[in-house]
Symmetry: C2
Subunit: 231 residues, 2 copies
């Protein structure tokens, strides 16, 4: 419960989603796990999954292994929990604009913006999601983790399909144009996801500053997709 300054932002983000109408996190994240998930996400981002030891996470928590293994069965279990929370952040982020009745182009813009902002504001979790996808794209895992990993990828694919649908609608409306849909989607996500890698919170940074970054990424993507610039 005692969150120091460096963890406060993420703890707030988790609390925000947990407080949202969705029942997703309520089922997954219990009280005693929040701090562990936050610190684990930071470790996984800082050193990568393979290089992060459970002792690293425990050290950042100011406690020992015992606490972690009390709540999580294994290192992989902890990792997947982090990644799944990350995906839930994303669903929560695009939820409103997804339900919108606006034209496809406007929905696409809003979803892209919300997604990108989620990358920035829940960066450590998103970095873990990324690593999970990377591990999957290769294919070197044990059968136990396989199942859990496949579930994560399935979630990710479903999420991706939401964007795909809106993209196709916007394309049908003539608002954007691209050659290969698969490549276009890859490039869009890579651009929107890129803050995962290069974003660093500045001291004194405001929420508006972060929105500004997300806006630039979104503009870049829409222009890249051949959208006519808005006024």
């Amino acid at each position: 419960m005692t969150a120091n300054a460096s963890t406060q932002g993420i703890a707030r983000a988790i609390a925000g989603v947990a407080a949202s109408p969705g029942t997703l996190t309520a089922a997954l994240v219990e009280e005693g796990q929040i701090d562990i998930l936050n610190m684990a996400a930071q470790c996984f981002m800082a050193r990568g999954y393979a290089s992060t030891s459970i002792d690293d996470v425990a050290r950042r928590l100011g406690s020992t292994k015992g606490r972690i293994y009390h709540f999580f069965a294994s290192k992989a279990d902890l990792f997947f929990a982090v990644a799944e929370v990350g995906m839930q952040f994303n669903y929560a982020a695009i939820d409103a604009s997804l339900k919108s009745e606006a034209p496809a182009m406007e929905r696409l813009r809003d979803m892209a913006f919300a997604h990108c902002l989620s990358m920035i504001e829940t960066q450590p979790f998103q970095h873990s999601v990324w690593q999970g996808v990377e591990i999957h794209l290769r294919g070197s895992t044990t059968p136990e983790q396989r199942e859990r990993l496949n579930a994560l990828i399935e979630t990710r694919d479903h999420y991706s399909a939401l964007f795909r649908k809106v993209m196709e609608e916007a394309r049908a409306e003539g608002a954007i144009h691209y050659d290969d849909p698969g490549i276009a989607r890859q490039l869009m996500f890579m651009t929107l996801n890129s803050p995962i890698f290069w974003y660093k919170p500045r001291p004194g940074e405001t929420a508006e500053d972060r929105k500004n970054i997300a806006r630039q990424c979104t503009d870049f993507v829409l222009a890249g997709l051949g959208a006519t610039p808005t006024a």
Copy 2:
């Protein structure tokens, strides 16, 4: 010297650069190291640096540790050698368009295309370069590796600056427009680099197919930077 089908492409790429006028690879890569570097690059891409054991590389080589440690002092040494070769591929790729006298916009297009194509055709090496940058952005390494890692980052920064210069020229010419130059460069490189992650060689694929992918990425980037579409 006996390269099987799966390694032939990369071996050809190394031979191509080694045969080029530049003296870069001649100094770095010796005969007995080529196969090792190729297999190491593949392993690092497949499992990541941390998860790759020297025995993994040896197994892929069809030999044992002894061979690797005969040429490379440590695992880190091998990794940096791979990454440095990767950077040399990139310099070689953009060399021609860099020296061009054409307008900045045209040079930028050529460089972006060449860079992207290099990502595709030397993918495993570029993936290692990426990992090196990632490790650096965090900052958890031993002092010995630090020096070597800093050298790699310096090379990478210098390479990035080449693009920065041309981008600014093109911007001054009014050919492109963007808000924050740093973000614009990040988004450009992320898009051009993205094949590192999602490209997979298809059976029966031609060099033209790869060029087509690079072209789509380049078009996306230039459009993202606000360039007026060419005829």
